[in-house]
């Protein structure tokens, strides 16, 4: 798999080592050492994925994340040295798709990058319609009441996964496996934060979501259409 990865990290040794690992795995790494140059480097290199250290001299990782998200849905994987709740959640809320905690193994890193670069093979033209939303899976396009909605690839995949089996409840663990590619238990906060981001874009009232609904204690599902909400007898049944 060929992919250009922009590595934003101020530590030269780590950067070099990341380069060795990425090249060995067939990626094409591009490096930038300072936060101030990250956006310019992004424009120049047009990477398929950004590997972003949260703590940087100059502009910090969260700020870069927010700026990148203003113009692009490029997959962003954060490198963080902090496992504290606040840092990870802040990073995810700033728009990062996934995160990886230092120290990590080469295998872990590559698995996370691969998961984000993987494109689902879709058989032919698939169009999903639910509520007032239409998803063209092939073209990776979403419209709400006919107007286009910009989703990141991750958000698109999250919504498509839920929409392919409407009304079925997906646990966070299942979503972590199907959308993020975690085979073992991942961090369920990834799901929570990204569902919130998705709702902000597709719900009429994100505070009172009707499309992506929370089933308390179980997970999420695409809610039934119309005002009346039916029984959620399928809770816990994920196929």
């Amino acid at each position: 798999m060929k992919g250009r990865v922009l590595v934003v990290d101020d530590d030269p040794s780590l950067g070099e080592m990341l380069g060795i690992v990425l090249r060995q795995e067939g990626f094409e790494p591009v490096f930038v050492r300072s936060g101030d140059q990250a956006i310019a480097a992004f424009h120049q290199a047009k990477p398929d994925l950004v590997l972003l250290d949260l703590m940087l001299p100059g502009k910090d990782g969260l700020e870069i994340c927010r700026e990148l998200r203003l113009e692009s849905g490029v997959p962003i994987v954060m490198l963080t040295a902090k496992t504290d709740t606040v840092d990870v959640v802040l990073g995810l809320e700033s728009g990062a798709d996934d995160y990886i905690t230092k120290p990590f193994s080469a295998k872990e890193l590559v698995a996370r990058i691969r998961a984000r670069l993987r494109r689902r093979d879709t058989d032919g033209a698939e169009t999903l319609r639910f509520h007032d939303i239409e998803m063209d899976v092939m073209a990776h396009q979403v419209t709400k009441v006919g107007k286009p909605v910009n989703l990141t690839p991750l958000e698109f995949e999250l919504l498509a996964t839920l929409a392919r089996r409407p009304r079925q409840v997906f646990t966070r663990e299942v979503l972590l496996e199907q959308v993020w590619g975690y085979r073992y238990a991942g961090d369920t906060r990834l799901v929570n934060v990204h569902v919130q981001r998705l709702r902000a874009k597709i719900e009429d009232d994100p505070e009172n979501p009707r499309v992506v609904q929370t089933v308390r204690g179980v997970g999420y599902r695409i809610g039934p259409e119309g005002g009346a909400v039916e029984s959620s007898a399928q809770a816990g049944d994920q196929g």
Binding site: D11, S13, L14, M17, L18, I20, V21, Q24, M55, R66, R69, L70, E71, S72, G73, L79, A81, K82, D84, T85, V89, E93, G95, T101, K102, P103, F104, S105, A106, K107, Q141, P148, N150, L151, T152, E155, F156, N192, V193, V195, Q196, R197, R199, A200, K201, P206, E207, N208, P209, R210, Q213, T214, V215, R216, G217, G223, V229, S231, S232, A235
Partner: protein, 518 residues
């Protein structure tokens, strides 16, 4: 009232009680003295007047006047004379004339010679002189004064010597004394009431600043270090106390502030060390992975070195994680964000995850969930509890050479209890108190097959404490060990009547406004 119960009264009541006791004592003494003094002067005045009167009535000059008269006439004249003397003078209510022969003449039918005490009659008859005595009144309540004196009569008469006994009632004196006593009682009670009220008011005034100080102290104890006693303007003892108290609180607040500063510095330090160590470690880790993966091309010793590097790096990472975790506990920077956790599910996952290790050591791990007394629900951070029980179960597996590990979970009173019992070699009694200490190894000779860091149980203890629970161990050498974790149980939230309510529950995570290009 004993000392013990007195000491239990509050200060104000004690002072008032004490003051009252002293006042009552003083009033009683004073009253008694006053009463005695007045009584003495009243009675002595009266007896003096009475004896004078008797002396006058029985004076010899009267005898002169009555020469040649018979007894009846004398008596009549005496009566006349007495009539003129009535009023102003003490008045006797009865007179008894008693002759040697036992002939008795009386002015009041109820007052007879029989009422005259024998001792008095004897003194009058033998001594031929005036004498008096107090007797109990034969005609009413109270007492009477009886004054006896020889009565002068004509020696020629056949009647023989006569003696007169005058009965003086003491009603006036006794009534006066009774009135006086009542008056003293009323004045005493009034004084006592005034003293009690004054004492209560003044002790209240004295205590008020102390109570204010107590309120401030309690406020400080409740955590408000900024509380101070309002500066007293007076330079009395209390003013000085307030000053010292405030100075002490200032010092305390300053010290606590410094400690908090040190704490936050340490937390910051831990966070910095964490970041600074993790970045180079990430490089080392990837380099080691790389060399390890490429080791087939290396000479045998270098190959072995690559394997050792990889393995020990793993241990190093675990140790670093544990050290940082302990540091975070020490710095007090860990905040628990509890959610409802069903321990049976959590333990199930723990057992599943450790299955490869158990299988490798041929140890059976059994989980028993007892729901007879309710669901094993706790409010907890599931990752932390996962860590606690993974550690305990892993230890149990590691310590079991043959046999099984039994896990039990269920409710006990207001708690959820988890026991992890192994059939291992057990822990010697001398090691038992130390096993939750950091880096304490009960069995230094045992092979470290699973590569523990020596911090596992210390972290487990911290995590359980964080959840307001407790962890205990019982062990017998040769029969295995049982670890018991007790956590406060919570009751399940009432299930919504239908699923509608449960479904539409927004999560409270704020979402920044982001417009994203596809």
């Amino acid at each position: 009232m004993g000392r013990f119960s007195l000491a239990r009264l509050d200060l104000r009541a004690r002072v008032v009680l004490f003051t009252s006791a002293i006042v009552v004592g003083a009033l009683l003494l004073l009253g008694a003295a006053l009463h005695a003094l007045l009584a003495k002067s009243l009675y002595s005045q009266h007896s003096l007047e009475a004896t004078n009167q008797v002396r006058l009535l029985t004076a010899p000059n009267l005898t002169g006047d009555v020469t040649g008269l018979d007894t009846r006439q004398v008596q009549k004249r005496l009566e006349e004379r007495l009539m003129t003397r009535q009023g102003g003078q003490p008045s006797f209510s009865g007179l008894v004339l008693h002759s040697q022969d036992g002939i008795e003449t009386r002015t009041d039918a109820n007052l007879r010679f029989a009422h005259v005490p024998a001792a008095l009659a004897e003194r009058v008859v033998k001594g031929k002189e005036l004498a008096y005595v107090y007797i109990r009144s034969p005609v009413g309540p109270g007492r009477m004064l009886v004054v006896g004196a020889p009565f002068p009569v004509d020696q020629s008469e056949e009647v023989g010597p006569q003696y007169a006994y005058f009965f003086y009632p003491l009603n006036f004196q006794e009534e006066t004394l009774a009135k006086l006593s009542n008056f003293l009682l009323i004045v005493g009670a009034g004084l006592l009431a005034a003293v009690v009220i004054l004492a209560a008011i003044s002790i209240g005034r004295v205590l008020k600043p102390i109570q204010r100080a107590r309120d401030v102290a309690e406020e400080i104890a409740a955590g408000n270090l900024a509380a101070r006693i309002p500066q007293a303007t007076s330079q009395d003892d209390f003013g000085k106390l307030a000053e010292s108290f405030n100075r002490m609180t200032d010092n305390l607040a300053q010290k606590i502030g410094e400690l908090e500063h040190v704490g936050s510095l340490q937390a910051r330090f831990v966070s910095d060390v964490s970041h600074e160590l993790r970045t180079p470690l990430a490089t080392v880790r990837m380099a080691a992975d790389y060399i390890h993966a490429a080791r087939t091309g290396l000479p045998p010793d270098a190959q072995r070195a690559a394997v050792l590097l990889e393995r020990e790096l793993e241990r190093f990472e675990n140790l670093l994680e544990d050290l940082l975790e302990i540091s975070r506990f020490d710095a007090g920077v860990i905040n628990l964000e509890p959610v409802e956790v069903d321990l049976s599910g959590l333990l199930d996952e723990v057992v599943d995850a450790l299955d490869p290790i158990a299988h490798g050591r041929k140890v059976e791990v059994g989980l028993e969930v007892d729901r007879s007394r309710g669901q094993p629900l706790v409010a907890a951070d599931p990752r932390r509890l996962d860590r606690v029980f993974s550690n305990l179960v892993k230890n149990a597996i590691e310590h079991t050479e043959q046999g099984g590990v039994r896990i039990w979970v269920g409710r006990r009173a207001r708690d959820v209890v988890v026991t992890v019992a192994d059939e291992g070699e057990g822990i010697p009694a001398e090691d038992l108190p130390h096993i939750f200490e950091r880096f304490y190894r009960a069995d230094v000779h045992r092979a470290r097959t699973l590569g523990g860091t020596g911090l596992g149980l210390a972290i487990a203890l911290e995590n359980v404490n964080l959840h307001r629970g407790s962890i205990d161990v019982q062990s017998e050498v040769g029969h295995g060990s049982t670890f018991t974790v007790t956590l406060p149980a919570i009751d399940p939230k009432p299930e919504p009547a239908d699923d509608q309510a449960a479904e539409l529950q927004p999560e409270p995570v704020p979402v920044p406004e982001v417009a994203v290009g596809g």
